[in-house]
Symmetry: C2
């Protein structure tokens, strides 16, 4: 999907938050903002929002000198959700439909998205997760779960740090030999990298690969050959969050997007109201 | 106050909404957005946000060709609140403290601000006003009401269309001969102009003057001599909303700001949480 006009203020807001995590020097942050504004004013907006975000965050890295502004944020949310993991694991295994409950939690965990919301607090995350138990999931959930159970090779493309603990809880219910977990190739916003996968023990459970890209999404042209091959060969691709949706929704293979609809641009694109927890089979997907 | 980095995405979001009210031509709106981004990238950000907004909306008028994008929005909210005015008038006169109730409603009406929130709906406005009856007002309310009762000459600087119906309900409780109502000199966002004052009958109640400026706030250097004289000579200046606060808060005379705190920049500047309904005496004001 393209970058709409309404994506632009959000991308700018996001860059201001990122520069704040990088530097206390207001004049440097103002200089960076001016450079970002100029850059977007000249950008091709027919690319997806995560591609614009990649270019913004590359510029910020050059201007502000930090390779990983969200390092502490990511550690905080990994630790927070890991400290709650046993509780959630019990809720999953004690529920009538553990796989459905784990899917619900994996979607609820998608609230941990610094790309969409600045200054996300632990309280907001916990409240969102608590409320998810009573949340209905829109979309192709039953079909997704049947495909998940039948698949021989699953590519699971993670989204954010912290959230990947919920991905782990879902993956624990699957045959680990079937699952390959993909994370971003380089730190960008609070997206999960191999460090995050390792810190929540996912590397000891399943194969972990890197996209090879610093796009906060999955731009196949930017990914490694290994990633692209696995993407093509997998029986099932699961992709978490808006960044993956924005970059992959037009791909010509079936992909299940698990996400929380967090802005009116994605609400308009999916036809689901903002706030919806959804399993979305992409338009080229084979319906159940 | 200056334009902070965090004001920039909001100003841009606002310009995108305004261009949407002006034109259905996406490529023209994209061109306008690129021009606005370039313009802000080169702007002096030591001025207040409404001054940047003035420059943005001047550029939009040139680029998109509409002198009053919010014309229909303003009419809609004037009509909506006028249709409810008798009900609110009864609530005010039937309350234990009519002046306090009218002040509460005048602040609640400040929710009708297209500058801060895109796509404001009638339902959101009605819900906010209904909840205001149970809302506590932070700040110098008692002192404000005593000054309001004692003043011989009151300059009341309005903010938005629709909201001015609530201003009227408050002004009806005062001696009309004492009050001069000021509105913007030209249409900008959904700020009230003389047309709005006339359409809700304020011109038949009190003297109405125009600021002479197209700033969505009150930049004295941009106002007429008449406005500046009245501003200096008034016993009491009442200024509604964030735009007036942002432009007047550093002025060296006492001013009472009546507003709803609508963003974290104003929350940080006032020390009041976002969502607060407040009467704020400016820092140079003579305390009660």
């Amino acid at each position: 999907m393209i970058t709409t006009l309404d994506c632009v203020p959000c991308l700018i807001r996001q860059s201001i938050e990122a520069s704040g995590f990088t530097s206390d020097d207001y004049s440097l942050r103002e200089k960076a903002l001016r450079e970002i504004l100029r850059k977007i004013s000249e950008s091709d907006l027919t690319v997806s929002p995560p591609v614009i975000a990649r270019d913004i965050h590359r510029a910020l890295r050059d201007l502000c000198g930090s390779t990983d502004p969200y390092c502490e944020v990511k550690k905080k949310f990994n630790s927070l959700i890991m400290s709650m993991a046993d509780r959630f694991r019990k809720i999953i295994t004690g529920s009538d439909d553990p796989l459905l409950t784990a899917v619900k939690l994996a979607i609820a965990g998608n609230v941990i998205d610094s790309g969409v919301k600045s200054g996300l607090t632990e309280q907001e995350v916990i409240a969102s997760i608590e409320s998810s138990f009573s949340e209905t999931i829109s979309g192709d959930t039953d079909y997704f779960i049947s495909r998940l159970s039948d698949a021989k090779k699953i590519l699971y493309i993670a989204d954010n740090a912290g959230e990947i603990v919920f991905d782990r809880l879902l993956i624990e219910l699957l045959d680990p030999g079937k699952v390959i977990l993909a994370v971003r190739g380089f730190p960008v916003i609070n997206d999960a990298t191999v460090d995050d996968a390792e810190s929540v023990g996912l590397d000891r459970l399943v194969s972990v690969i890197q996209s090879g890209s610093d796009v906060p999404g999955t731009l196949l042209d930017d990914c490694t050959e290994e990633f692209s091959r696995i993407f093509r060969e997998a029986d099932l691709v699961v992709a978490k969050g808006q960044g993956n949706y924005e970059t992959l929704c037009d791909e010509e293979r079936d992909i299940f997007f698990l996400l929380k609809v967090k802005c009116h641009v994605i609400a308009a694109h999916t036809g689901l109201p903002a706030g919806t927890h959804a399993v979305i089979l992409n338009k080229h997907g084979i319906k159940g």
